[in-house]
Amino acid sequence: MFFVSVGSINYEFTRLLNALETLSYKDRCKVIYQGYINKSHEISSFKILTYIPRKSYLEYIEQSEIVITHCGIGTIYECAHLSKKTIIVPRLLKYSEHNNDHQLEIFNELSERPIPNIYPLLDLKNLEETINFVLNQKISTSPVPSGLGNLKNEIQINTNKFLML
């Protein structure tokens, strides 16, 4: 199963859905679309879930062969830490797919300094090829770079200070 997530923001990402429709892997896609949904998507050939709780969301990621998602930091982070091969496609401002181009920034950053198992893709024409390529890649077990520990410590210290604990 390919798990496709386009996040929970109130903007459409029709471009990705259309690209999925043309795939030879089409039947293997399971799409979730938690944000704004256009009526026309309901008659598309995918089973579209509009809202699922976090727990089942993580279960879908774990069960899937590869994940295809927008460049949303939440999903990228979860997938990287679950060592799941993931194709990330930025939502672009020029197609009104988001309110700014921060997804393009993430795309650029992760293209220049890749993190394990995350495969950035800009041009959706190459989706099929990319999937073929990614399917043949081994799952990398190298650690994901993260400065989360430091940030968390810092927040803990300041919280204790502010709350006078």
């Binding site: 996040g7 929970s8 923001i9 109130n10 938690q34 809202y51 709780p53 976090r54 727990k55 949303g72 930091i73 939440g74 999903t75 990228i76 982070y77 979860e78 990287a80 700014n100 181009d101 921060h102 997804q103 920034e105 993430i106 650029n108 950053e109 992760l110 300094r113 993190i115 994901v144 770079p145 993260s146 400065g147 989360l148 520990g149 430091n150 940030l151 968390k152 410590n153 810092e154 927040i155 803990q156 300041n158 919280t159 204790n160 502010f162 709350l163 604990l165």
Partner: protein, 158 residues
């Protein structure tokens, strides 16, 4: 104030904002601190969730409703500290708490922002007591108050 439990608000819109907040939130003693999550969707894995109807910055009526709900919730629980990772949902709560209760605010700019300020970040920069960014490149974009201590996908200065 002695003897009263401290109150903390965790505020995050859905998606990455919430994921980040849950990962970096501090561990606090339950007998001393009451924790509330303010977000858009119900989540069974969290206790004390306050649900706000989602709004966009282009929807004035919804913003107005949200403001009133924020006013009610803030006055009811009188937060001592707000920790937020954005986005727009943080606006009303931070303004109201700051004005009425001089609440301390820790704001963490979402790691989705690599080179440009978010709208919420711009605003929260002015109202926060601690302001963190998650990429070193963001330090130049904001002023002196911004600090970089590490980010979700970024371990050190590169």
């Amino acid at each position: 104030m002695n003897g009263r439990k401290k109150t903390i608000f965790y505020i995050a819109s859905r998606g990455g904002h919430l994921t980040e907040l849950l990962m970096i939130k501090p561990n606090l003693p339950k007998n001393k601190v009451k924790e509330f999550y303010i977000t858009y969707d119900k989540d069974d894995s969290l206790e004390n969730v306050i649900i706000i109807n989602s709004f966009l910055l282009s929807q004035p009526i919804k913003i107005f409703t949200c403001f009133f709900k924020a006013l009610y919730v803030t006055c009811k629980y009188k937060p001592d500290l707000i920790i937020s990772t954005g986005a727009e949902l943080a606006f009303p709560f931070i303004i109201i708490s700051k004005i009425f209760y001089k609440t301390n605010v820790i704001y963490i700019e979402c790691s989705a922002q690599v080179f440009t300020k978010s709208i919420t970040g711009r605003f929260c920069y002015l109202f926060s007591d601690k302001f963190y960014v998650q990429w070193p490149s963001m330090l130049k974009v904001y002023g002196k108050k911004a600090e970089f201590k590490g980010g979700f996908l970024c371990s050190s200065f590169q």
